[in-house]
């Protein structure tokens, strides 16, 4: 077993071990033991950095279901390495943080188990080369995040949030699966590498665009892109370490990863460019716009996450244009958007992780996250304040923090794209930098809100009473490491660029010859250009807007409450439940008669419909055997008897009439040369009639049908149609004489089976098996009658285990 396979597997094994040895492990040490896993994984992964930076990739295949091309192929390249480092790195910090955050009363083993499951699943997502395996891990992340979000499942909101995230992300997953399958059908392989290598062959296929859209849907739901972002704020019901982990660094980044991964496949398409960029920008704006109005710190962060993910997404969209243009010295410049995206991916994980942990600390120590009740914490919690300031400023895009660098690059990319005249950018392209800029202003506003409302101003009295204090050291370690990174990256961004981002660029643009060319030198000062102007504008306007917040906050009320996306989502669900219920209850009304009507109508429509549509009818009465008078009489007797049955008013009459029918059938058997049948029919009919009499005696009197005339007529029509269908097909079949019957064989019964009664030899020898089973049927019926009569419903004091 190679290391890359082990990396995925170890978290799962550990999760299982935790569950198995839950009783033996002391709760105190559980977290520390678990911590070993991500830390060691992280360290192992760092050893890959230099080798990957040299342009190496690692592939290993383990057979899973080779019969259907489902193989466990791991593939490590620059892109997956970035993500895996984030997963294990942030994972270590989050576990370290949660050791101090979670109280000993919680069911910690569950928590760590889910967390490890999630970690393993995420690693699986980024390391899988096989689409189906990727999908498997993808869904596993949804499932494990569901468990994490519902960790406090006694809370209704937790359950609701978990349900929402599960429903939305799994739906996206299913659509992604469909897209994957389309890719498979087009390319004949599940391997992403092979698909990328053969992209020209499939790009003309009619399924190419549908596959693109379906896969994007998967990515958008996972990465909380508009309008699927609604699950993310609700998912904040999870314990804060979970939010810090899932919603800053890992799960939501899976969608980003997917888009980056598939850029080489779909990047050349205009649909891809506009969908990814457009949705990204809308999300960016919508997230920041909504973040401003939130009062819960965690909700602000949730929307800010949504917004930042939109930013990264739009960058990836902008970068994809390079794929379309193909490699040339002029087009390389457009890859910088992707570079910025990857860069911001890392930056966002650092500052957002820190911010979430900061909120966790506030919540943990103060007991509330509502900014209306907070304020002035700066003096009480100076360290936490530092974290908040650095994190927020980085998010707002201020120097000297890493957010500044990536934000500048973002602006640069949006502006640069305007120079192109593909994809009809020239007409609407101006919107791109505009939206980006507006959204950044709003980002700036909510960053200020986070810092100001929480830490500045006066301490609210009810908080003062609780005697709040700074968090314990343990809880501060993780955010401080992240904060350090925020600053360190600002000062040494090119280290990151050279060792980590460059190989990733190579995997996003495999057709471009030189990764180094696509790796710009990042510098904090890059001249006095339009990006910088935009940033200055952001700061100025941001401050102004913050000051004027109470004046323009009214615009949030323009949107009616019941037309928010959340409300629409809820409404769709409740409506569909209610509509389903009313429709289902309407036709599934428990009335047997109605069920029969449905069945007969289907019978007539489908069978007779086919019969008529295919024009299968034929009739040739001349082939018929002659009819004698007495036979005709018998037929009339039967018809009259049958019709008499419909109008019979007493039980006895009906039963007797049925008996008459049976006897007439027996007589037909006589006429049609079937002695055995006649005998059997006579006896069976008599016995049946007797049974009818015995049983019907216990049933109520035969009342006239209480149905209305209309019902009777419609029933009559259905009945006649059924009868007509049978007759017509029967007539056609009677005249169908293309084959010799196999029964001539049985006429040698004496030589073959030693019997002269052909029917009986068929029953006793040729088809004895039917007879044997028929005996069994009879026996079951006899035993069943006995059981039905003797097994009465249990009385209340019945000693049954299952009382129904």
């Amino acid at each position: 077993m190679t290391i890359d396979f082990a990396i995925i597997l170890i978290p799962f094994i550990m999760a299982a071990l935790i569950l198995l040895f839950n009783k033996q492990l002391r709760k105190k040490y559980l977290g520390w033991i678990v911590l070993i896993i991500p830390v060691s994984l992280f360290l192992i992964l760092t050893t890959y950095i230099p080798r990957i930076a040299n342009g190496e990739t690692y592939t290993h295949t383990y057979e899973w279901i080779p019969a259907f091309n489902l193989n466990f192929t791991t593939y490590i390249d620059g892109l997956s390495l970035i993500l895996s480092l984030l997963i294990t790195g942030v994972g270590s910090l989050v576990i370290l943080y949660s050791i101090f955050y979670l109280s000993m009363k919680e069911s910690l083993h569950h928590f760590y188990c889910y967390l490890l499951l999630f970690m393993g699943a995420m690693l699986g997502v980024v390391f899988s080369d096989n689409l189906m395996v990727l999908y498997a891990f993808w869904e596993l992340t949804s499932v494990s995040s569901f468990l994490l979000i519902a960790f406090w499942h006694h809370r209704k909101a937790s359950r609701a949030g978990a349900r929402k995230s599960m429903t939305i992300t799994v739906s996206g997953g299913v659509s992604m699966l469909t897209g994957f399958l389309m890719l498979y059908v087009m390319s004949g392989t599940f391997s992403i590498r092979e698909i990328i290598a053969n992209v020209e062959k499939i790009s003309e296929h009619s399924l190419f665009i549908p596959a693109l859209i379906l896969i994007l849907l998967g990515a958008f739901t996972k990465s909380a892109q508009f309008p699927f972002h609604i699950w993310l704020p609700d998912a904040m019901e999870a314990p804060t370490p979970v939010s810090a982990y899932l919603h800053s660094a890992t799960m939501v980044k899976a969608g980003i990863y997917l888009v980056a991964r598939f850029t080489p496949v779909f990047g050349g398409e205009m649909v891809w460019f506009w969908t990814v960029t457009g949705v990204g920008l809308i999300t960016l704006f919508w997230g920041s716009f909504n973040a401003v109005r939130q009062t819960d710190l965690k909700a602000i962060l949730a929307f800010s996450t949504v917004s930042q993910l939109g930013l990264i997404m739009s960058l990836l969209g902008l970068g994809s244009v390079a794929v379309h243009l193909g490699y040339s010295a002029d087009t390389v410049i457009y890859t910088q958007a992707t570079f910025a995206a990857l860069f911001h991916l890392i930056n966002h994980s650092t500052f957002k992780g820190a911010l979430f942990m900061m909120v966790g600390i506030v919540d943990h120590e103060i007991g509330t996250r509502d900014i209306r009740r907070l304020g002035g914490l700066m003096s009480i919690m100076p360290f936490t304040f530092t974290i908040a300031v650095i994190g927020s400023f980085s998010m707002a895009g201020l120097p000297p923090f890493n957010g500044f660098l990536s934000k500048e690059m973002f602006f640069a990319a949006t502006v640069k794209i305007l120079q192109l005249d593909v994809f009809s950018i020239e007409s609407t392209g101006i919107l791109i930098p505009l939206i980006a800029w507006v959204a950044s202003i709003l980002t700036f506003v909510y960053c200020i809100i986070i810092v100001n409302r929480t830490f500045l101003g006066k301490i609210k009295p009810d908080i003062q009473e609780k005697n709040p204090h700074e968090a314990p050291l343990g809880m501060l370690i993780s955010p401080f490491i992240l904060i350090t990174l925020v600053i360190a990256i600002f000062f040494f961004p090119n280290l990151l660029g050279e060792y980590i981002l460059k190989p990733a660029m190579a995997s996003v643009y495999p057709t471009f010859p030189s990764a180094a060319e696509m790796t710009p030198h990042i510098s904090a000062w890059h001249g006095f250009n339009i990006e910088l102007l935009m940033t200055i504008g952001v700061i100025v306007l941001g401050i102004v807007l913050y000051r004027l917040l109470k004046y323009w906050k009214k615009i949030y009320r323009i949107f009616p409450q019941n037309w928010t996306l959340n409300a629409i989502y809820e409404r769709v669900i409740t409506t569909s439940e209610n509509v389903s219920e009313s429709i289902t209850n309407r036709y599934m009304n428990g009335k047997l008669t109605h069920y029969f009507i449905y069945i007969y109508i289907s019978f007539v429509v489908i069978v007779a419909g086919t019969f008529v549509a295919l024009d299968a009818f034929s009739w040739n009465p001349r082939l018929d055997a002659p009819v004698e008078t007495y036979e005709l009489l018998l037929v009339f007797i039967m018809i009259f008897t049958a019709i008499g049955l419909v109008f019979a008013k007493s039980r006895i009459t009906s039963v007797l009439l049925n008996g008459v029918l049976g006897y007439s059938v027996a007589f037909f058997f006589v006429i049609f040369r079937a002695p055995d049948l006649a005998l059997t029919q006579l006896v069976v009919e008599s016995v049946t009639t007797a049974l009818f009499l015995i049983c019907f005696k216990h049933l109520g009197a035969l009342k006239p049908e209480p149905s209305s005339k209309r019902v009777k007529v419609s029933n009559g029509v259905i009945s006649i149609l059924v009868g007509a269908t049978v007759t017509l097909i029967g007539l056609a079949v009677v005249n169908y004489e293309k084959f010799e019957t196999i029964s001539t064989y049985f006429e040698n019964s004496y030589e073959l089976a030693g019997g002269k009664n052909i029917v009986n030899t068929i029953l006793g020898d040729f088809r004895a098996f039917d007879t044997m089973l028929e005996v069994v049927v009879l026996f079951i019926a006899g035993l069943g009658v006995y059981t039905l009569i003797n097994l009465k419903a249990a009385k209340k004091e019945g000693a049954d285990i299952e009382n129904k």
């Binding site: 008013k649 007493s650 039980r651 006895i652 009459t653 005696k697 009197a701």
Partner: protein, 134 residues
């Protein structure tokens, strides 16, 4: 010309025809006669006669035509002969015990006081409500 075999076959066939006519008559009797007791005469007596004639005809026919002496037919004749009166008896008795009224003009019913006592006022079961009574 007519030989013995032919004659016997004709006898068989004619007895069958006779049987069918008797049966028709008995059926008309079933329709026309006024109450269950009289109808049972039509049914048990003439129908039995009919079936006996018919079966005998069939017996003769098979005997003459195929040289086949059918024990089953004889058995059948015997069986019908034994059981027809019994079943006729039982049904009529049951009818009486179920208080099916006699047709008008049947004369005195001497059994009634013996069997049911003097309950003159007891509700007799009319023809219409027998079913409902079940």
């Amino acid at each position: 010309m007519l030989n013995v075999k032919e004659i016997l076959e004709w006898i068989a066939v004619l007895s069958v025809l006779l049987a069918s006519i008797i049966s028709m008559i008995s059926a008309f009797g079933m329709i026309r006669l006024p109450d269950v007791y009289t109808r049972s005469h039509a049914a048990t007596k003439s129908s039995t006669m009919a079936v006996l004639a018919c079966l005998s005809g069939a017996f003769i026919y098979f005997w003459v035509h195929d040289g086949y002496v059918s024990v089953r037919l004889i058995l059948g004749i015997v069986f019908v002969f034994i059981t027809a009166p019994v079943s006729g008896h039982l049904v009529t008795r049951a009818a009486y015990r179920a208080r099916v009224p006699l047709a008008e003009g049947s004369g005195d019913d001497a059994l009634k006081p013996v069997l049911f006592g003097d309950e003159q006022t007891s509700p007799t079961i009319t023809a219409d409500n027998v079913d409902k009574h079940e």
